[in-house]
Symmetry: none
Subunit: 203 residues, 4 copies
Amino acid sequence: MTNPDDDTPRRAHTGRRRNEDARRAILDAVLVLLAESGGAPVTIDTIARAAGVGKQTIYRWWPSKGAVLLEALTGLAGDVVSPPRGETLRADLTSFVTATFRGARAESTAAVLRSLVREAARDPHAADLVRTFTESRRDALRALLAGHPDELAPDADLDLIVDQLYGLFWYRFLLAHRPLSDEAAGALGAALAAQAGAGSVRP
Amino acid sequence: MTNPDDDTPRRAHTGRRRNEDARRAILDAVLVLLAESGGAPVTIDTIARAAGVGKQTIYRWWPSKGAVLLEALTGLAGDVVSPPRGETLRADLTSFVTATFRGARAESTAAVLRSLVREAARDPHAADLVRTFTESRRDALRALLAGHPDELAPDADLDLIVDQLYGLFWYRFLLAHRPLSDEAAGALGAALAAQAGAGSVRP
Amino acid sequence: MTNPDDDTPRRAHTGRRRNEDARRAILDAVLVLLAESGGAPVTIDTIARAAGVGKQTIYRWWPSKGAVLLEALTGLAGDVVSPPRGETLRADLTSFVTATFRGARAESTAAVLRSLVREAARDPHAADLVRTFTESRRDALRALLAGHPDELAPDADLDLIVDQLYGLFWYRFLLAHRPLSDEAAGALGAALAAQAGAGSVRP
Amino acid sequence: MTNPDDDTPRRAHTGRRRNEDARRAILDAVLVLLAESGGAPVTIDTIARAAGVGKQTIYRWWPSKGAVLLEALTGLAGDVVSPPRGETLRADLTSFVTATFRGARAESTAAVLRSLVREAARDPHAADLVRTFTESRRDALRALLAGHPDELAPDADLDLIVDQLYGLFWYRFLLAHRPLSDEAAGALGAALAAQAGAGSVRP
DNA sequence: ACATAATCGAGACGGTACGTCAGGTCTTTTG
DNA sequence: CAAAAGACCTGACGTACCGTCTCGATTATGT
């Protein structure tokens, strides 16, 4: 049986392999630069210089600046995710929100997040990646909700709940008019759990 | 009564006045260009050219491109706002959300909104203005909520409700993963009205 | 007899007269600014501001920036000219050259001269005025030469001598590779007097 | 003998090399544009456009517009120089002057020369380069004079002669009040040769 | 062993947009 | 009706990044 799998190209690879050190150096440089830049935009040239790498090495492996940022971010986010599995929906929801808010309060994550959005705002490629990324987060959240079927009203609009959660998160994160505090996380978790249990109100 | 302030400067303005035609031409050109551009970024040169105006005239009155977009937008938004005054909180909330969603569905408004965000993503000046703008929208919404004191639980977290509403709005608007439909507006209005009435749940 | 003189127009002037103070303020401001600027270009706005005058007032009376500079210059040059009248051609020539060189060494004159050339380099109007100005200087020099007919060879090429003198002057003045010293003035005066007496050499 | 300096850099050049085609295209475009423009100023954008080159490629290699013009000019001047070597000083001088005048009469050269001066008038960088350029021309002329030591008076002021020649040249070239004719060249050559032979006149 | 092939750092390239500056004109109010 | 103030249009400037394209050098297979 011929294996059409991803990592089995028809013809074995010839030539020099990708330099893993370079990859790491680039992602690290991105994080360092973002942390130092204090919100100022980071350019490709700067990243390449800081990583001791040619620009082409970046463009060879990532389609755009935003893609690099995104990869750097997911590396970071992996630590934070920790899908909770508790007794009640409200507890799970609250701990999920709290973790999310805390991740965004860490300056290291926040800087990447912010730059990522900046990039997505003008690079359609980056925008696509952000869309995929946020999609996967929503899926995770939806799975969490689905894990408590007995606490969900039959006609509960899960998408509405998910989008309220992430909407509020991004809205506060980007505008920073109000902190992403643990208190807010608790209140939001409780409110959304209540919404899920109540279901849609009859018109 | 001599009132020396407000509109009574000690010495009248001397020199040529600001050309109101130019101002209108610029704002109009922005709207037209955005509508035509189909999401592509619009440059200052293009605006100036289309308005039959020198670039400097734009920079004389607005600190950045985003500021122009914002002014163009508020001109548009003024028509949409229409603060409702109905019987129930739920009805008012729903009609407010519906109006907001509908405004964003109109391509003319949506294009400006989108470009505005794009600008804010890289022009700190524009970002500030967006902050002010969104602040005023939140205030309007909060006023609407405060207009129904008897339907609010004593410990209701109005800021949370406001941010859930606008958070979801922007989240869906920018990611476009789900439509800002009238149905969604109804559901959101109902859910938030219920939340406001229930107040915070005890931990 | 009607006097066609400059300041007696046929029909009495109607309306406000030209403000002589403004004229002087402008010319003075030019000189001051040039002296202070140390060679840096001086703009019309700066002049207007320094003279406490509207830009239009400058353009009402002078066709371009260069024209203002030129008028400021001729005011200065008038003091320096002093057409000499001595015994010998050589003495007269030497004292003429010396006076010219000395005028250019005075920083006040030099700054104007330099800015004037700068202007002429890109303002055709100013260039015309410079042409007229230099023409008048050449005429003065030619008159000086003609004042010693007995010391001139019949076929002496006066234009050549004049241009050698002023050519060297401007060349050294603008390039500043060699000083416009009194010694140089003496040597040049002597050499040109000799040349004038010898006439053209047969080919 | 290991000599690590001069033309033996430790590490060979890395990165893409300068594109010689672009360099030529730029210089050619300058000449063509100047010839066509008929004295009107030529902008960097126009040059870049005409050469099919990015503006930055010009700024990468030349510090200012004047520098580009100068390089274009020296390319042209190289053909004209032809240091003469004849029997008499007068003959050499005359042919040198004649060649110089003729070069300036050719519209192709004249346009570059004129624009070069225009640039030098406001770009200090270009002014420096012009100074270097004229310096080299004076050196060439001084070498020519030194080639006839027996025809020079012991106290002859060579610099004065050199500056008379080039002074007259530029003076007539820029003011254009009198042509740079072959006749003038002959007369000037003869006069200066006589000056050189006579030496300084005693005071 | 030696050709083939892909990667790497470096950096030049064509472009697009930016925000600034100066010039010269036009307009309003004051004296 | 001139003058001061100052807004206006024009057009060039020099800079910042972008994403692509060479370079020569450096690995890794394949034969």
